[in-house]
């Protein structure tokens, strides 16, 4: 499908969707319309756009991905067993091909002041609770994929934490795509609202059952109230032929804390846009990221931290391991606005190239308009340290094992920052499997 036809097809779908909105509240119709208008204006990004210079989405455009009306039925719950974390009780919500599956979900009981439900259902029954927030965290000039999501998303999670509400268990949102004949598009849209002093841990987990070509175009908005604390995990383990575009947009109020862990192990072409606006004094944002790539995988992380008010702290720590002909892009933009005195911002991106044909492009972009601030950044692209390799070999460790060990240690550095131990240890196993590091069970205790 050529780009114009693809764009027309989506615009037609938006037109058709609008007819179905006759009974919807006017603000929602307006939001959908604004998404469609922005999409009509921006279209799909091309490599001529500075922010997409290294990431060519032509294959996504050409495939002509279409969403399905309803999630596939007949997914055997047992097929999901492997996706849940061992020893981690959680509130489990399952989305199949972009739609909430009541049958597969086991949300459990919610404490006082907490509402968690399908966004589609919330928009039907409790739209007034969504209205003040939905779409507010996404910048007006968002790229075409974000606009596409706004115009056409079908479902996702709505999470509302009332004032002072605290969840003991994490909320595990599992997005499953099942092999289908058609090139399938799913567009989850999540809205998280954490009122003053509330706390929760969220896990967004993107996986596939069966091998197929599909496209996930996800967008999550997180509103972090005063003194609220949200820890967000985005674990992307899509199928090998999958395309994944993800947006995570957070807005932080006074002393709000937001941590975003983003782990990319799967997917063929992946682009993540993370944006965090520290919009009141004393807000704190952490972003930890790890991408481990092989073959022809391509992962692009664009992060954007906006220090708008004084005494904000941000910590970005991204690492990547690239093998085969894989490619990674990291772009870390940090803005410190004139008002944001005493900002403390740090950014690190380290890339390890395991093959001659792998490539990493990393670019910090600091724009500092306040004078009394601490800002530091460091970006590296390198190979395994030959001296460390020789040291290990001189201690009888064979060359392959030495390489694997150093690579594993490099990547594990990010996982060690994940606070939930069951998530950490499962990802360590996935990481080891991907890096072919053997004999891991014992490393657990001794590393």
């Amino acid at each position: 499908m050529n780009p114009n036809t693809a764009k027309e097809t989506y615009l037609d779908a938006m037109g058709a969707a609008e007819k179905g909105l006759a009974g919807a509240p006017s603000w929602l119709r307006e939001l959908r319309r604004s998404g469609a208008a922005r999409f009509a204006e921006a279209g799909f990004p091309t490599t001529r756009d500075e922010a997409w210079k290294y990431t060519d989405v032509t294959p996504i455009v050409q495939a002509g991905f279409q969403s399905v009306a309803k999630g596939a039925n007949g997914v055997d719950p047992a097929r999901l067993d492997g996706f849940w974390f061992e020893n981690l009780p959680s509130h489990r919500l399952v989305f199949v091909n972009g739609h909430y599956s009541e049958k597969l979900s086991t949300p459990g009981a919610w404490p006082e002041g907490v509402t968690v439900m399908s966004l589609a259902e919330a928009l039907r029954d409790q739209a007034h609770r969504i209205e003040p927030y939905l779409g507010r965290c996404v910048p007006e000039k968002a790229h075409g994929f974000a606009a596409l999501n706004t115009a056409l998303f079908a479902d996702g999670a709505f999470i509302h934490l009332g004032r002072g509400a605290r969840l003991t268990w994490p909320i595990h949102l599992l997005y499953v795509t099942t092999g289908a004949g058609e090139p399938l598009l799913s567009q989850p849209r999540n809205l998280v609202v954490a009122e003053e002093d509330s706390q929760a841990v969220l896990i967004e987990n993107y996986v596939a059952i069966g091998e197929s070509v599909y496209f996930t175009n996800a967008l999550t908005e997180v509103v972090v109230g005063p003194h609220a604390l949200i820890e967000h995990y985005r674990l992307q383990e899509e199928g090998a032929q999958a395309f994944h575009i993800g947006g995570l947009h957070a807005h932080l109020d006074r002393d709000g804390r937001f941590t975003a862990h983003g782990i990319d192990l799967g997917g063929r072409l992946v682009r993540n846009d993370l944006r965090s606006v520290l919009d009141a004094e004393g807000a704190e944002c952490q972003m930890n990221g790890l991408y481990v790539l092989g073959g022809r995988q391509h992962v692009d992380n664009h992060t954007h931290i906006d220090h708008a008010k004084p005494r904000g702290t941000s910590r970005e720590f991204y690492k990547g391991v690239l093998d085969g002909r894989s490619r990674a892009v990291f772009h870390g933009r940090v803005i410190v606005r004139p008002d944001a005195q005493h900002t403390d911002a740090q950014q690190v991106n380290n890339n390890l190239l395991l093959s001659r044909d792998a490539e990493a492009d990393t670019k910090p972009q600091l724009e500092i308009y306040a004078d009394d601030v601490k800002c530091a950044h460091g970006a590296t692209v390198g190979q395994l340290d030959p001296d460390a390799l020789f040291y290990l070999r001189s201690r009888a460790v064979d060359e392959t094992a030495a390489r694997d060990l150093l690579t594993y240690a490099f990547a594990r550095d990010v996982l060690s920052r994940l606070r939930l131990e069951p998530v950490r240890s499962q990802l360590e196993r996935h990481l080891a499997a991907k890096l072919r590091v053997a004999a891991l069970p014992q490393t657990q205790e001794v590393f």
Binding site: A388, F390, L392, A396, V397, D398, L405, A409, F447
Partner: protein
């Protein structure tokens, strides 16, 4: 045990070792001394198998085998150990994991079963007493954030756990205070035995007060310019290296 004949080594095309000859028998302790830049570390690294060094002539026979054909890990499995002059830091790999991997790799090559966790820990703790190292360092990343002295003790700990047949210590004594020096000496003296050989690369005679060498060699400009017994070390201490460079004629090539 080790026989080095006419060894020539270059680094980045520059000749560093220019015909080294050395015979080391089981049970012996050899000290190699010499001024800075004379090629002592080059010799140690070539023996351990560092790829950066190019052997342009000569041969090295270790326990009847052509050493230069073996990759570094195989040399280690055959009982060779180099305590590095500058031990590297390896973030993310704990000291104890390295010890365990190393010991088990060596045991595997000897067709011995892996040590179980209990026996392994008991062995390591026993050897830690010898080097007076706090246990906490076991669980830290290899050499990361270690002081100079801790790094050297750590090398000796590894040596004590792995019990090599041929240990080469490259200036392990440099920069150490008397206490640490005694730790190194103890590590070496415990290892010393009729089955093993030790090569001490050192700058100072000081270490030799604690470890009595059977032979002392002086390396000057890539050649062994003089060999003798331990009294040679005292002469070097008194008179420096200058007189040797003058009196010695270059070894025949």
């Amino acid at each position: 045990m080790l026989s080095i004949k006419n060894l020539h080594v270059s680094v980045d095309g520059k000749p560093i070792l220019k015909g080294v000859n050395l015979e080391v028998k089981a049970g012996e302790v050899h000290a190699i001394m010499g001024p800075n830049g004379s090629g002592k570390s080059t010799l140690a690294n070539v023996l351990a198998g560092h790829e950066h060094y190019e052997v342009t002539a000569g041969e090295v026979i270790y326990q009847g085998r052509d050493l230069l054909q073996l990759p570094p890990e195989e040399r280690a499995r055959q009982g060779m150990f180099l305590a590095f002059q500058y031990p590297v830091e390896i973030p993310g790999v704990s000291n104890i994991y390295l010890l365990k991997s190393a010991l088990n790799a060596i045991r595997e090559s000897q067709n011995l079963p892996e040590l179980d966790a209990m026996d392994f820990l008991a062995l390591v703790k026993d050897r830690m007493k010898l080097v007076e190292m706090p246990e906490e360092l076991l669980y830290r990343s290899v050499n990361e954030g270690f002081s100079g002295g801790e790094k050297k003790r750590n090398e000796i700990l590894q040596m004590a756990v792995l019990e090599p047949k041929l240990a080469i210590l490259d200036e392990t004594d440099s920069g150490l205070d008397i206490d640490a020096l005694q730790v190194v000496a103890r590590g070496v003296n415990v290892l010393r035995g009729p089955e093993r050989a030790i090569i001490l690369v050192t700058h100072y005679q000081r270490l030799l007060n604690y470890i009595e060498p059977d032979w002392v060699h002086v390396l000057v400009d890539g050649r062994i310019a003089k060999s003798g017994d331990k009294t040679l070390a005292y002469e070097l201490e008194k008179h420096g290296y200058g007189w040797i460079a003058q009196e010695s004629t270059p070894a025949t090539v």
